[in-house]
């Protein structure tokens, strides 16, 4: 398969998704656009409730029944995934786009043997004999680094540790031989040492199988490890997007600043810059910039008018009025600037 690095495999355009709730419509995703190029890893970073999981559920066609896609397109292979019928989606889900969930225990069927759970996907994706399916499943288990695959084939999920379970989930996601792999916080439930191993595994199979990966997380350390490009989401919008270097070394949106400086790293001594307040109620999303109420750099216009996306470079965009030519010049917070200098100096 020839790899054209600039070929766009998936394109999300102005996606808007709301949920029907008692209090009204919860506007979970409010105009999200991003694309995924072949062979790259795009990370989506944000807090819980920022709409990152909802966006990828729309791509997989597994939105909850009370969700409404209000507008937007998800272009994939000449199709618009928001309009594909459930029947046709069966051919895409798993076979073309694979998904790894956050919690490996609840993603697996507790009363079905591991082997069966993998071969089930193989049988669904194409007509093969059960011997062949078993052979393929053992290959997959070997590929994701499960020792003694023959014996493990007949075990149940509870007999596996958290890291091993996540490897099984990855094996299942790979069974249909997808070209896009979506990882929804795959390591949040795991220990750091196990997390490091799983991230290495995902990177390895991405190289081997020429996968394009969408990686969802709230851990900026994991983002730095995995991502080629980063989209920062807040209150249902992408507030800043750029390459990994641009986001970590030249962040432009105050929310990205806050995210980067709110967690201590191993050198931090000074008081943390906490973000005051909580994310807005998405039934009544605020007018203007949703982050304005928690942003000490907010100007009057932030509360009145939504900022457009300002272009900083061909790959770097940010939606904040601070980038408007008429806005007062605001420098990076000192703590953050010091940290960036330190990071650039590290080898």
């Amino acid at each position: 398969m020839a790899i054209n690095p600039n070929e766009t495999v998936l394109k999300v355009e102005d996606l808007r998704i709301s949920f029907k709730a008692y209090g009204g419509m919860v506007q979970a995703v409010r105009g999200v656009s991003f694309d995924l190029k072949r062979g790259e890893t795009v990370a989506i970073v944000g807090e819980s409730g920022s709409g990152k999981s909802v966006s990828i559920k729309a791509i997989m066609g597994i939105l909850a029944p009370n969700a409404v896609i209000e507008s937007g397109r998800i272009e994939y292979d000449g199709m618009d995934l928001t309009k594909v019928s459930e029947e046709d989606f069966h051919k895409i889900r798993g076979n073309r786009i694979g998904l790894i969930f956050q919690d490996p225990l609840s993603a697996l069927n507790p009363i079905m043997k591991i082997g069966k759970q993998i071969t089930e996907v193989l049988h669904l994706s194409k007509k093969i004999s059960s011997e062949e399916a078993k052979h393929r499943a053992l290959e997959l288990m070997h590929a994701v680094g499960i020792p003694e695959a023959e014996r493990r084939f007949n075990q149940y999920p509870f007999q596996f540790s958290g890291g091993m379970r996540q490897r099984i989930v990855i094996a299942i996601a790979l069974a249909g031989d997808p070209e896009i792999l979506i990882c929804d916080e795959p390591t949040t439930a795991l220990d750091v040492t196990v997390q490091a191993k799983i991230l290495e595994l995902i990177n390895k199979i991405k190289e081997e199988r020429h996968l394009s990966v969408i990686f969802i997380t709230h851990d900026l350390g994991v983002v730095a490890n995995m991502a080629d490009r980063v989209n920062v989401m807040y209150a249902g919008k992408i507030v800043e997007s750029g390459t990994s270097e641009e986001i970590f070394f030249e962040p432009a949106h105050p929310y990205t600043w806050a995210l980067l400086s709110s967690m201590p790293d191993l050198q931090t001594k000074e008081r943390l810059l906490a973000i005051p307040g909580t994310p807005p109620n998405m039934i009544y999303p605020p007018a203007g910039d949703a982050f304005a109420a928690r942003n000490k750099y907010a100007m009057k216009i932030d509360f009145e008018k939504e900022p457009p996306s300002f272009k900083l470079s061909d790959t770097h965009y940010a939606s904040t009025w601070l980038l408007h030519p008429k806005a007062p010049k605001v420098d990076l917070p000192d703590v953050l600037r010091a940290r960036i200098e330190r990071m650039k100096g590290a080898k």
Partner: protein, 316 residues
Amino acid sequence: MAEESNYILEVKHLCQHFSSGRGKNKLLVKAVDDVSFGVRPAETFGLVGESGCGKTTTGRTIIRLYNPTSGEMYFNGRDIAGPMTKDLRRYLTDNIAMIFQDPIESLNPRMTIEEIVGEGLRIRGMKDKDEVRARVHEMLEKVGLTEEHATRYPHEFSGGQRQRIGIARAMIIKPKMIIADEPVSALDVSIQAQVINLLNDLKEEMGLTILFIAHNLSVVKYFSDRIGVMYYGRLVEIARGDDLYRCPLHPYTKALLSAIPEPNPITERTRKRIDYDPERDHDYSVEKPTMVEVAPEHFVYCSPSELEQYQKQLGL
């Protein structure tokens, strides 16, 4: 550990074993196995390790949610490992309070915030409702909530606010020591910093001693004066935070440190992870390992030959 009186909490050879099944199915889990450490007044001692390493069990045994299998524990010189009497329970709950990981599960959904936070005072015999209320309001103010919150129920609050309520409940009895079991790991990134700052402020204001249990090493490093690293029920290394991160000695500590993802694309792309395999990294068939003070304030669990190697590494 010569100067015993220096410690407000002292744990010596603590073991906490859990058994299940009987007969040939009997299974003994050594959740905490021969753990010794001391915490000085107004110090924050961090316990780190992976899930299942026994860090939570250690915290819970100290506050006597479990009865220790063996070992000694002293708080302010008083034995707190002995049989549970009414007097001992009162002593423990007066002096040590706990903050839990999950702020939703640990608050009673049928009680208002005033009842939850004031419960400790009522149990201690404060009958005057107005006085309880005044103290609750004062405490809520301190943790960054307001008086109006007092009449609400837990479900009306966000995760960060619930954790503040948990902190208020722990602090209202003015304990000498707090055991904080993963107090921020269930919270969102932007909220974690708020709670860490709050704990830091309270610590300084009230001169608190904190036993901080967590798996996030950057947070532990930031928050703690000294850190103990646990692996499979054992403490393998104790050191001051800076020392531990600058020159980790035990191979498990090295493995753990090498696995932390840092928010820095430059270092992340070239990061080398170190694996830890106790079978491969240690040979304890001849020499038995013990906890040794390699450098001042730096203890490692090692055998005599490993000790030599570690001392060389430190340039001693």
